[in-house]
């Protein structure tokens, strides 16, 4: 067997070949971090991605093996592999993939040792607990709990863990009891290689609202330009006519041009002016 030691068993060989095949078949090859995702949720996320992306879980050593065999630019992907990496493949562009993965994020309860992703706040108000030792447990964690009207209530809103701090075992237990889920858990993209370029996740976040607002702005600007430059299009010609008509009416009233279409406006103006003077002299 010794002479075959650098050869892989058939099942490993198959895994490596599959990784290579997928990497050549799809436009995007990426790595996602599966850290902290319970198996049941992972199944759900996989189902949600079906049809747009393929998730491939395998051993890190086999991933490294496959990329080394592939060679070229793409093999730098291995630099991003860590203990919880899985491969992801899709034909979507990396921005779309990132968005899809963000959508898989769900809130989960914290485990001892987790780092708070943001300030963890316990809101004031009644809890579902009947009076009991829970009050002491809460108080020991710095949460102002008390018994009011036969119920355990939290008397004021309190930040119990600051963003970036570790959540200790006692706090994790309390937060879990209070059904507070501070942790974002989901498939987080580590790196994507698409059409010959690497994309880091921090460049892939898109603010869709900003794009929407920019489309609104662009449409507005185009409309304004068409009207202000008097370049009529079917979209703007009615507005341009309206503008011309308003200008003509303005001129007619301002210069007191007695024409049928505007004489009522001129009377209206004279009437208002007269009322203004009347108000001053009476």
């Amino acid at each position: 067997m010794a002479i075959y030691s650098h050869h892989l068993p058939q099942w490993k060989r198959d895994e490596v070949e599959e990784i290579k095949k997928l990497s050549e078949e799809y436009r995007l090859t990426g790595l996602v971090d599966l850290h902290g995702i319970p198996a049941s949720q992972l199944q759900q996320m996989r189902r949600n991605l079906r049809g747009s992306a393929v998730l491939k879980m395998t051993r890190n050593t086999l991933i490294e093996h496959a990329f080394n065999e592939l060679g070229g630019e793409i093999c730098r992907t291995v630099e991003y592999v860590d203990g919880h990496s899985a491969m992801i493949y899709t034909n979507e562009n990396p921005f779309k993939l990132y968005k899809k993965l963000q959508d898989t994020m769900t809130k989960m309860v914290a485990k001892p040792g987790d780092i708070a992703p943001e300030d963890i706040v316990v809101p004031k108000g009644p809890t579902g607990f009947p009076p009991g030792p829970i009050v002491g447990t809460l108080q020991q964690s710095g949460i102002p709990a008390a018994i009011e009207g036969g119920k355990v209530v939290i008397r004021e809103t309190k930040t119990v863990v600051k963003a970036g701090e570790e959540i200790n075992a006692k706090m994790a237990d309390v937060l879990s009891k209070l059904d507070i889920k501070p942790m974002d858990v989901g498939l987080s993209l580590q790196i994507a290689f698409y059409d010959g370029t690497f994309f880091e996740p921090n460049t892939l976040a898109i603010d869709e609202t900003e794009y929407f607002n920019n489309v609104v702005l662009a449409a507005q600007q185009a409309f304004n330009l068409s009207v202000n430059a008097s370049y009529p299009t079917s979209t703007t010609v009615a507005t341009i006519i309206g503008k011309a008509v308003r200008e003509a009416r303005n001129l007619a009233v301002e210069a007191a041009i007695y024409e049928k279409d505007v004489v009522d406006l001129i009377i209206g103006r004279a009437s208002r002016e007269s009322l203004a003077i009347k108000a001053l002299v009476e």
Partner: protein, 69 residues
């Protein structure tokens, strides 16, 4: 605007608004009257309900005012 005011003087006194009447009012005010503008005014006013036009402008002003509050 002097032509329209002359017409309104006549209107508010319940007098008929015609070329002759408008011209008289303006002449009395020492204004050199342009016949064509008087004609244009009378033609434009033909069929116009002045009381209603005044009413509308007042309603509009009032309607705008409370809304502005």
């Amino acid at each position: 605007m002097e032509y329209i005011y002359a017409a309104l003087v006549l209107h508010s006194a319940g007098k008929e608004i015609n070329e002759d009447a408008v011209t008289k009012v303006m002449t009395a005010a020492g204004i050199a009257v342009d016949d064509s503008r008087v004609k244009a005014l009378i033609a434009a006013l033909d069929g116009v309900d002045i009381a209603e036009a005044i009413e509308k402008s007042a309603v509009a002003a009032v309607a705008a005012a409370p809304a502005a509050a």
